[in-house]
Symmetry: C2
Subunit: 447 residues, 2 copies
């Protein structure tokens, strides 16, 4: 009889695992259980759907259940795995009808993703997290029915992207962030530019402000948002205050959960102590190469890679996930924002001594049309000058430069060497010294 690989969760990590296993072993039975209606969709694209940049929800789906089925993967949508029995090697699956069934497996990949954290605010129950294609569609339809004002609670990158989407639809937008800065993945000095961009887009940004209540009408629709000092009209409310790994079922089954709150895995995505059981994506930990500890970073790029590797290793392969360094990028109004490695504040928090320099330059030769500001901040190890991290904010063309810094951080390049590296120059792309070279030289002087 054929062996059976079961996958819990049908988004990026789960379906990557399913697909790679399918390709590697044509004999294997591959079944994936997804509690929602969609598979392999881009949650990262939701703000663009809400804002109207993307016209159709289907465009966010890179592969539908039927497409997966036509490739020999048995996808069961609207099927939630409510229990895992690692001893019996079975799953308890609850269908949309409420009927439960038992499904056997030989190998298992847990890819349950993450769930929004509802903030401890009165009225928060009324707000559906905009984390799925379905929720995004409901939000978009609500927007199309009208409304003048929106409030976004939480100033991380998702909150900022959603605020921009609302503003693009002509709404008056207020963003409320509890911390003293937006985008806590950046140092405060760099985050200030992002706040400028949001404000320049017409978004009112409140930092250091706590929401006390989301006021809803009898139908459960939002009416206003109240902080300790002010009340804001709100026909639409989005909560973007983070998500936590969805590990309840796996934990209940006996899989280990690390300090990050995500499932423990080794560098082959194996769950320690349980042969043939893997985890990948937002529900799993990753090894942070600079901090040298396990972290939980919820990003599609890691989910895809880890899922693929889980699928390879679940079918007898031997592939290693090399870990992460905290690279991320986003587009916030007129600025692009990138970060990799350790920030100055993050390093201080981890007790790591660093030097740091920030430069401001232009994205193109000064005389070339479309040149605009770019800020680059680098963080390096004193003495050796080894690059530990970088942050970039600037106009179009700025942020993907973060990948150069990611490569340099990954390979342990020193800022002194980075300053003389043979990077490309032409007037449409940079001044004769690329901003990264200028930043590296400024940092090298402090090492």
């Amino acid at each position: 009889m054929a062996r059976r690989l079961a996958i819990v969760g049908g988004d990026a990590a789960g379906m990557s695992a399913a697909s790679s296993a399918r390709r590697r072993d044509p004999e294997l039975e591959v079944v994936a259980f997804e509690r929602g209606a969609y598979t392999s969709y881009s949650a990262c694209g939701i703000p663009y759907l809400v804002g109207g940049l993307v016209a159709d929800a289907d465009r966010l789906v890179s592969r539908s259940p039927d497409e997966h089925r036509s490739r020999g993967i048995d996808v069961r949508t609207r099927c939630e795995v409510v229990a895992i029995d690692l001893g019996a090697r079975t799953l308890t699956v609850r269908a949309a009808t409420g009927r439960e069934s038992t499904e056997p497996f030989d190998e298992l990949v847990v890819a349950t993703g993450a769930d929004a954290v509802a903030p401890p605010i009165e009225g928060a129950w009324a707000i559906e997290p905009a984390r799925t294609v379905g929720a995004a569609e409901r939000l978009r339809h609500a927007l199309e029915r009208g409304g003048r004002a929106a409030v976004v609670i939480g100033g991380g990158y998702i909150g900022l992207e959603m605020a921009e989407a609302f503003a693009d639809r002509g709404l008056q937008v207020t963003m409320i962030e509890q911390a003293d800065q937006v985008m806590s993945t950046l140092d405060a000095d760099m985050a200030a530019h992002v706040q400028d961009a949001a404000e320049g887009h017409g978004i009112r940004v409140l930092v250091g402000a706590s929401v006390e209540e989301i006021i809803v009408d009898e139908a459960g629709a939002p009416v206003a948002v109240r902080t300790s000092t002010e009340t804001f009209d709100a026909d639409h409310v989005v909560v973007g205050t983070g998500a936590r790994p969805a590990v309840a079922v796996a934990r209940e089954a006996g899989l280990q959960v690390g300090d990050s709150g995500a499932l423990r895995v080794d560098d082959h995505q194996r769950c320690p102590g349980h042969d043939g059981v893997f985890a990948a994506g937002d529900c799993a930990e990753s090894h942070h190469r600079l901090l040298d500890r396990q972290v939980n970073i919820q990003l599609g790029t890691h989910a895809n890679k880890q899922g693929r590797i889980a699928g390879v290793n679940a079918t007898g392969g031997d592939e290693r996930f090399p870990g992460v360094i905290g690279t991320a990028v986003s587009k916030i109004c007129r600025y692009e924002v990138g970060r990799t490695g350790l920030g100055e504040a993050e390093a201080a928090g981890a007790g790591i001594e660093v030097v740091s320099a920030t430069i401001k330059d232009r994205t193109r030769a000064g005389y070339y049309p479309g040149a605009g500001p770019i800020w680059v901040k680098l963080v390096a190890e004193p003495g050796s000058g080894r690059l530990l991290g970088g942050q970039i904010v600037g106009v179009e063309g700025a942020a993907k430069r973060i990948d150069v810094l990611a490569t340099a951080v990954w390979t342990g390049l020193a800022v002194e060497e980075l300053a003389l590296l043979d990077l490309a120059y032409a007037p449409p792309f940079s001044g004769v010294y690329d901003p990264l070279l200028i930043a590296a030289r400024a940092t090298a002087k402090l090492v």
Copy 2:
């Protein structure tokens, strides 16, 4: 008495040397001789001036002679150094008036740049090389006086940029290239996309075609260009068939010239055998880190770095130029083009065995507006998988990714590791797997 540093050549390398020496040693006398009227101008910007993207020639000058003078550098424009006496440590300088004078030096930086190579074509004498701000201004004035047709001889990046500039001014443009492909710095398969872009912009591109004559009228103005098979009307002609290091005076003085035709220098920009004599920029050799031999690559980015290092070392410093890996970028019509390290053909020419893979992808998530094609070609060492080079062609956002590959080539990263590197992802910037990761994985399979 103060020591005296003399600089021969007032563009990127020369004035970088002058500026860094000036900053390091306030007592030093710094004098720079420039045969033209401008200093520190961007030759790379000339096509944009000709095409009208840049309105004013002054914008290409990053620092004028007067600005340098106000910083304590004695700039002598329209002064050509016609002889160097390394024994007596003097220069013979000819002013615009024809008067010659003798100028002493203690340290010397030779930064004489490169001169256009006039092709062995009848009538070529009539075409002024568009390599200086003055020449670009004259060409622009000629364009403003009228004309319908232009011919560009030579299909390298400068020829392509000039052809685009002419087309942007509404001229009918023909480009004639002797080799079988445009842009010989790329492999033929990648260069084909660049040719597509030029043709899509309305430029007629002839490859494998030789110009036999530039037909000029009695006043020396171009009328037509004749190949062996056809004659093209040409109110304007540009020749972009390369440039050769301007080393005549330095060679005459006894400085060594390498196989590349450029001045020999060590890794401190010192001319071997001559204490206190340095060379930098287009007239000098650079160490190619992959070929492990001296090459001559004429680019502003190297000129600036080498000039600065020459200035540092001429004032008692100890800074090393780490060499080059052949990184370059340009924008050709709708595509951006980048290359670094060794191409497939280049490696074959050097007797280096490689594997290579090319992928086509999109610059952004498929559903995000503005997504367009990007081709990435990687070249790696068999066995080790070490990345040896990369080439990129694609729409906006494509080409500066070459810097990631440059960093990976520089640090000796293997394609297998590159394929799992933590690069940034968000829908406005790439699909969930960056095109570089996809290309690395495709190449890793062949290693």
